[in-house]
Amino acid sequence: MIGRRLALIVTGVLMVTLLSGCATAGAGHLSAPSPLSPIPSVTASSGPPAPPPPVGVSATAEVSRLTVYASLGGAVKLSLANPRPSGGPLTLLVVQSSSDWLEVELPDRPNGSRGWISASQVTLHNLDYSLRVSTQQNTLSLYRSNALVSTYSVATGTGGTPTPHGAFYLTELLAPTNSGYGPYAFGLSAFSAVLTSFGGGPGQIGLHGTDDAASIGRAVSHGCIRMSNADITTLATMLPLGTPITIE
């Protein structure tokens, strides 16, 4: 009796293994697409629908110092420490790829700086979320796969210390130990065009909470983007580093 049961169990396992292999082959699984390549559309598949294409790709360093080249096969431009000085992992936003090299946005002045890194020294992740800030409306909109999720009221820079416009990304996430930034503060790859230093830092723009809730919705900051502490907490629990943020 035991022999019969054993035979049936083992047979079942083997047949499931065999059939699952057949099913895999029959389904014609597609190779995972390059994060920078168009995802092929599948129209005749009986499986689940293909996920929407990512809105961006982040590259997180796997080495203690990441060498950045000025161009493909060109001279060394700079070397970035990993982790970053703030203690978080060095994560960059990929602009484009050329074979096994990646052009990335750099968290460095001037705004919009780019360089090339070896793909073998980073881990890539697709990004679903993106942010869009309006300094005119003092709003921040959260998108997932380019579909609007929510819009928040924020504070942005004054006329004298404006929030810079352009395409940036989230470089780090701090749980600030000093007052004024609320429970969480994202660093951006953007830098103030007016302040070359601030509070011991290099004039880097942040996206953070605040101790001054009354300032939300107004142009009152030194360039940072302030949110309510509840809203920044919401974003901190969902956004990966590298998430694109457009300020306009």
């Binding site: 049936l8 292999g21 096994d100 090299w101």
Partner: protein
Amino acid sequence: MTRSRRRHLLPVFVALGLVVSVSLTAIPDSHPALAAESPVGLGNAGSFAVLGASTVTNTGPTVVSGDLGVNAGSAVTGFPPGIVTNGAQHVTDTLSGLAQQDLVTAYNDAAGRTPTTSGLTALDGMTLVPGVYSGGALTLGGNLTLNGSATGVFIFQATSTLIAGSTSHVLFSGGAGPCNVFWQVASSATLQTAADFSGTIMALTSVTAATGAKITGRLLARTGGVTMDTNVITRPTACSVASVGTPATPVPGRARFTG
């Protein structure tokens, strides 16, 4: 063993036989891989579709998709009429030097993997699952089917030559693809006229692609040259598998943003 027990175990043997017949067609004495192989890291050599040491020589309208390089030789001939797309020529420059260094590492990595199956010669008609396959002089005169998932890795070790005949084809099933196919050749590789070949060839000496041979992969030679004639050589792309990023982990610290 009693007749009753033999009857009970019969379905096991039938199922086992089906699995083996599907997985390892025409390799009666081989066995499946015990552990999944990781891909061979190519480093800077990964961007090259063609990389030679002494020379890179072409005849006819060859199309190379990917970088083309030579190091430490300086002779690249036949471009044009050959063309390089999705890449550039690197003639004994920094990148081709780094690529040759990384090719040595990759070659040694592939050569050092423990074979799943040894003693192979002709690969014709085989259907193989991911693993490491070794032999002396490997030949392919017909179809070779590589069956596995998109992450399945196939490593072939030839302690002598690799010759793919004019009617040879490397086929894929189950999601497997040329990204993770590696041919480590201890002497030279030859792809004969009109061969349809896939995978990254890492030859200790030289690689020759005869007239009309089509390669989805790379032709990499450590010490000798790469010779081409009216070929289409396409470096595999879409090899990176990226998962979706997870929420950032906050780091306690003093914020120094502009506020």
